[in-house]
């Protein structure tokens, strides 16, 4: 019941406000997602005693660059859409692995924040898909088979989780900025 109630709240939050444009709604969603990702990252850092300036070793997991000057705005949004799909896949994988490992022993706040990010990321993908008018699927673009994830419960696995959360935060921020540029171009105003 509690989860259902939270889902309804999230759905309401993700609904467009009266008179809001599609791009405006996407920008608002992206900003909310960025806040949620930041909150989730903070909770993870607290849980694992990681300092805020701790940078995990290793390469980026989602190595797309939407800020290439050679790309047009529509292409940047398309690139962003792909990155968000990868992020969603990584997040699904992360949730699956943690649930299997901890069997519900995780702290309630972290688990709830994780779910919120997943739901809001799905809504943002839908909104972005509408903006792109593409037929591309919004399903997660990631398989939980990478061996680099490390042994369950190991430090390497934790660092992988940390990197995924950092990627989520990074791409949520990118989404809010890129979609804002798109909104300004299409609507001719900064007002959301």
């Amino acid at each position: 019941m509690a989860e259902q109630g939270q889902f309804e709240v999230d759905t309401l939050l993700d609904m467009p406000a009266p008179g809001q444009t599609r791009t405006g709604r996407a920008v608002a969603l992206a900003r909310l997602l960025h806040q949620d990702c930041t909150h989730l990252l903070d909770l993870y850092r607290v849980r694992e005693s990681l300092s805020s300036d701790h940078t995990p070793a290793g390469d980026r997991i989602v190595s797309l660059s939407p800020s290439s000057p050679d790309l047009g705005l529509e292409e940047q949004v398309q690139l962003l859409y792909s990155a968000l799909r990868m992020c969603l896949g990584l997040l699904e994988c992360l949730i699956q692995r943690e649930d299997e490992e901890m069997e519900g022993e995780l702290e309630g706040d972290y688990e709830q924040a994780r779910k919120t990010v997943r739901d809001r990321l799905g809504h943002l993908l839908h909104s972005t898909k509408v903006l792109l008018e593409t037929e591309e699927d919004v399903t997660p673009d990631h398989e939980c088979t990478e061996e680099v994830d490390g042994v369950v419960g190991s430090f390497r696995a934790k660092m992988w989780t940390y990197r995924v959360l950092l990627e989520l935060t990074h791409w949520a921020d990118s989404a809010s900025q890129t979609l804002h540029v798109l909104h300004r171009e299409r609507e001719g105003t900064d007002e959301i």
Partner: protein, 910 residues
């Protein structure tokens, strides 16, 4: 030849060294590592010795980590020697070199060739690493971690969560640190970092996770059956392990079969009864085994009965039945408990029977809601009660009500009320529909009945009502109650002394002497003293052997007097035994004493007042305080300790105003008081008496003085009026008996001097208030006025002469506007004051002048200086002022006759 010699010598030396006492070095030394256990197994063969020297070094830095002599037996199955060594440092940290040699006492063989266990710090594995990667250890254990820095990187620091560790170098790339006495970790474990920076962990090159917890510790394994076939085992979890996750949580097996436990009670079941059960609990830190054994019929715990229903429900009993979900119970001898609950009571009753499935519930209350639950066990080899069934609710039927509690309260001889208490729900046995009150006279066999609605609980009666016995019945749909009767108390019941009773915090404690006729006990009642017809009367019955009670009520109020009475109850009329008055809490009276009056009786004042009404007393009046205020603050004049006394006489008061305040008081204090004023007038009888006495004394005094003067008249004359010698005339002056023309001097002997300055000083004359007159009542007004004037004059120094002359003469009192100056009358020659010039004419002479004798022919009379020669005696005390009105003949005559009379009086002539 020489070469052969050397060859033989070398061969001999080799042979001696090679056998070294005949010991062969270990052959085929083999290393086998268990990284998780950090255990190194060393095996070898080819030696007959039983003891061996073993040496283990860190290959890179050639540091010896083990050098010991061990006794090892040959494993006949493998044909090899084996020695296990547990390393304090993970085996992956760095390469280890192992060599073994045989020993027999002091003889040792050659070392075996070094065998190397390669570590993970070899150049081909260039990335950063930390070992052990994941470890589960018990609370309090020590643990060594090693960090292998990436090839080409420098070691920075090692961290255990947020704590920096002190590292030790094991090889070129490997550093180790030990953590001691580890405490419980979080569910996700404690992270151990290896950083390339000295003071921070901005980047964790490598890391490990350690989970610190406890091994499982379950207890109390108990197995039982519910359905007589399968088994259900339960146990308590015991201490928490603090280890979570699929790899670390505690797992259970029952008789070798895994138990699936999801955050619920620790239970595990098997399909068949096996009679012996073993529970194994295990996690990475250890395992525990629990066992239990029993026969099936000793461990039967029935399931809860189902489908409870009321078969028959009456007013006082009911039959409840149920069904069993297990057919096998029908042949079991069962014992069942029925837990019955209603609004104010709950009880548990036990029933037995084979396959018991119904019970009769007795002693129920009519018209009552009940809830029943049932649980059962096996009567033979009882093991445990089964679960309670779900609750069954039912309601008993109605029954006729109980008899009401009746009382007759007589307020006076002619008036009273029949009272009965409303029946409670438990006494009503159904909804009460009304009451019937019957007044019955057994002597006359006459009765009259009144039917009253259910909301009425009293009936007024009076002395004229016929019937001495009152009967009351209650009615509900099920019938009429038994009658409750009481005999009206006799008329003179109230005529007993009333005492006082104190409230002891919880109630009024009453005690009374036992009464022989109290066959049905005692009744004590209480009500508000002085209440009228609608008085609320409470009563309670107590047993015959009870002669004390504590009257308690939440209706008791402070400052209200209650009357409490105890009656002996018998078949006859209730007999009043004792009566008390009491207050729950006494307060000060709420009003002052009424009707205060003050009456003067001579020098006494009598105060009278009335009693404060009972409602306003608010406590037992202990007496009255009378305060008197006269000239200062009120003072307590009298404390009247008899509350019935309502008057007071205050005696011997002097005239003046008085204020009296009367305050009644209780133990809680005084009322606000009522005040009366009275002004006492002088007592006229005494005044008249005093005047008469004064007059009498004066008369006597004057008589005495007159008598004395008469007897001493010669002396008086000599002293005051000595004989003046006759003038001797020269020549032949005959004495003619003609009329002597005594002509007064044109100059007055008394000069009335108009003082112009005096006019201006008149304003200094002030009107003396009447109050001053009271204050100086012993000094006449005129004299005070005069003194006032003189006082000013003497103060100013302008008329010092006036003081001497006027002070002795009240005859000048009318000349308020003049100074009186005596000129020519015994003026002292030494007087420093010169005579004042006479500025006034003869016509201005008014008032009085001193008596004197003159010489008409004296020339001195012209100048007015010494025209009147008197006695040499001082004028201040010896001169008499005579009226001067000489303008009329009568006046002259009067003057002459008065002078003559006085002269004769002094000379003794008549």
């Amino acid at each position: 030849m020489m070469s052969w010699f050397f060859f033989s010598l070398l061969l001999g030396l080799w042979a001696r060294d090679g056998q070294a006492g005949g010991l062969m070095p270990p052959q085929k030394v083999n290393l086998d590592a268990d990284n998780a256990a950090q255990q190194l197994s060393v095996t070898w063969e080819g030696s007959q010795a039983t003891s061996f020297d073993m040496e283990i070094l860190r290959t890179e830095l050639m540091e010896i980590v083990l050098n010991e002599t061990v006794f090892v037996k040959l494993n006949l199955s493998t044909g090899r020697y084996q020695r296990n060594w547990t390393s304090p440092v993970p085996l992956e940290c760095t390469s280890l070199s192992v060599k073994v040699r045989s020993r027999d006492g002091q003889d040792v063989s050659e070392w075996s060739p070094q065998q190397i266990l390669p570590g993970k710090d070899l150049p081909y594995k260039a990335e950063a690493q930390m070992y052990p990667e994941v470890k589960v250890v018990p609370v309090g254990s020590n643990m060594t971690f090693c960090c292998i820095v990436a090839e080409g990187q420098q070691f920075g620091s090692m961290w255990y969560s947020q704590t920096r560790l002190n590292e030790t170098m094991l090889s070129r790339r490997t550093y180790a640190a030990t953590v001691t006495n580890q405490s419980l970790s979080k569910p996700s474990g404690t992270n151990v970092f290896c950083s390339n920076e000295k003071t921070t962990i901005k980047t964790a090159d490598a890391g490990a996770v350690v989970f610190v917890g406890y091994p499982p510790l379950p207890s109390d394994l108990v197995c039982e059956t519910h359905d007589l076939v399968s088994v259900s085992c339960a146990w308590t979890e015991g201490r928490k392990t603090y280890l979570y996750g699929t790899q670390r949580k505690t797992n259970y097996t029952l008789n070798g079969r895994a138990c699936s436990i999801e955050k619920g009670p620790m239970q595990c079941g098997l399909d068949q009864w096996e009679g012996f059960w073993t529970l194994v609990a295990y996690n990475p830190l250890g395992q525990v085994r629990l066992t239990d054994a029993a026969e099936l019929d000793h461990r039967v715990r029935p399931l809860a009965p189902v489908n409870l229903s009321p078969r028959v429900v009456q007013a006082l009993n009911a039959i409840v039945e149920w069904r069993w979900s297990i057919e096998g119970y029908k042949t079991l001898s069962l014992i069942c408990q029925v837990h019955l609950t209603n609004l104010w009571n709950n009880s548990t009753k036990t029933y037995t029977g084979v396959g018991l499935n119904s019970v009769v519930l007795k002693d129920l209350e009519p018209d009552e809601d009940y809830s029943a639950r049932v649980r059962c066990g096996v009567q033979k080899n009882f093991w445990k009660w089964g679960e309670w069934s779900s609750a069954l609710a039912f309601k008993t039927k109605m029954d006729r009500p109980d008899a009401p509690d009746v009382w007759v309260w007589m307020n006076s001889d002619d008036f009273g009320r029949v009272l009965w208490k409303p029946l409670t729900k438990r006494q009503s046995h159904g909804q009460i529909t009304g009451y019937e009150v019957t007044l019955w006279s057994p002597e006359e066999n006459i009765q009259q009945t009144v039917t009253l609605p259910r909301t009425t609980h009293s009936l007024p009666i009076n002395g004229t009502d016929r019937g001495s016995t009152v009967m009351v019945t209650a009615r509900n749909p099920a019938g009429v109650s038994r009658p409750a009767s009481v005999v009206k108390p006799p008329v003179s019941a109230d005529e007993i002394p009333v005492s006082r009773v104190a409230f002891n915090g919880s109630g009024f404690s009453l005690s009374w002497a036992a009464h022989a006729n109290a066959s049905c006990g005692y009744v004590w009642e209480w009500y508000r003293t002085g209440c009228a017809l609608d008085c609320s009367v409470e009563w309670t019955r107590v047993a015959p052997d009870n002669t004390s009670a504590v009257v308690q009520s939440s209706d008791f109020m402070s400052g209200v007097r209650y009357t409490l009475s105890v009656y002996a109850c018998s078949s006859e009329a209730p007999r009043l035994l004792e009566r008390w008055h009491g207050y729950m809490q006494e307060l000060a009276p709420s009003m002052s004493v009424p009707g205060l009056s003050l009456d003067q009786k001579g020098s006494d004042v009598q105060l009278t007042w009335e009693q404060i009404p009972l409602e306003q007393q608010r406590g037992f009046i202990l007496g009255y305080n009378v305060y008197l205020t006269h000239t200062s603050h009120p003072t307590l004049y009298a404390n009247i300790t008899d509350p019935q006394l309502t008057n007071l006489t205050v005696s011997h008061l002097s005239p003046g105003s008085y204020k009296f305040t009367v305050k009644a008081y209780t133990t809680a204090g005084e009322d606000e008081g009522v005040t009366g004023f009275i002004s006492l007038k002088p007592y006229t009888d005494w005044l008249i008496l005093e005047i008469l006495v004064s007059l009498g004394v004066m008369t006597c005094l004057l008589t005495l003085i007159s008598s004395l003067c008469y007897r001493k008249r010669k002396w008086v004359k000599k002293a005051f009026y000595p004989e003046i010698p006759e003038p001797k005339l020269p020549g032949s002056w005959g004495i003619t008996q003609g009329t002597l023309d005594v002509k007064p001097s044109p100059h007055s002997m008394v000069h009335i001097v108009e003082n112009p300055e005096w006019e201006s000083s008149k304003e200094a004359l002030v009107t003396v208030p009447e109050e001053d007159e009271d204050e100086d009542g012993d000094e006449p007004l005129a004299l005070r006025y005069y003194n006032h004037v003189v006082g000013e004059g003497s103060t100013s120094g302008r008329h010092p002469y006036a003081f001497d002359s006027s002070a002795s003469s009240i005859g000048s009192m009318d000349s308020g506007r003049t100074d009186v100056t005596y000129t020519g009358i015994q003026t002292s020659a030494s007087s420093p004051v010169p005579p004042q010039p006479d500025a006034s004419g003869p016509g201005r002479r008014v008032g009085y002048q001193p008596q004197c004798s003159w010489k008409p022919d004296s020339s001195d009379a012209e100048d007015g200086g010494l025209d009147c020669m008197g006695s040499p005696t001082s004028v201040t005390s010896s001169q008499f002022l005579l009226p001067e009105d000489t303008s009329s003949p009568e006046g002259k005559e009067n003057l002459s006759s008065a002078t003559t009379w006085f002269h004769h009086f002094l000379t003794g002539k008549t």
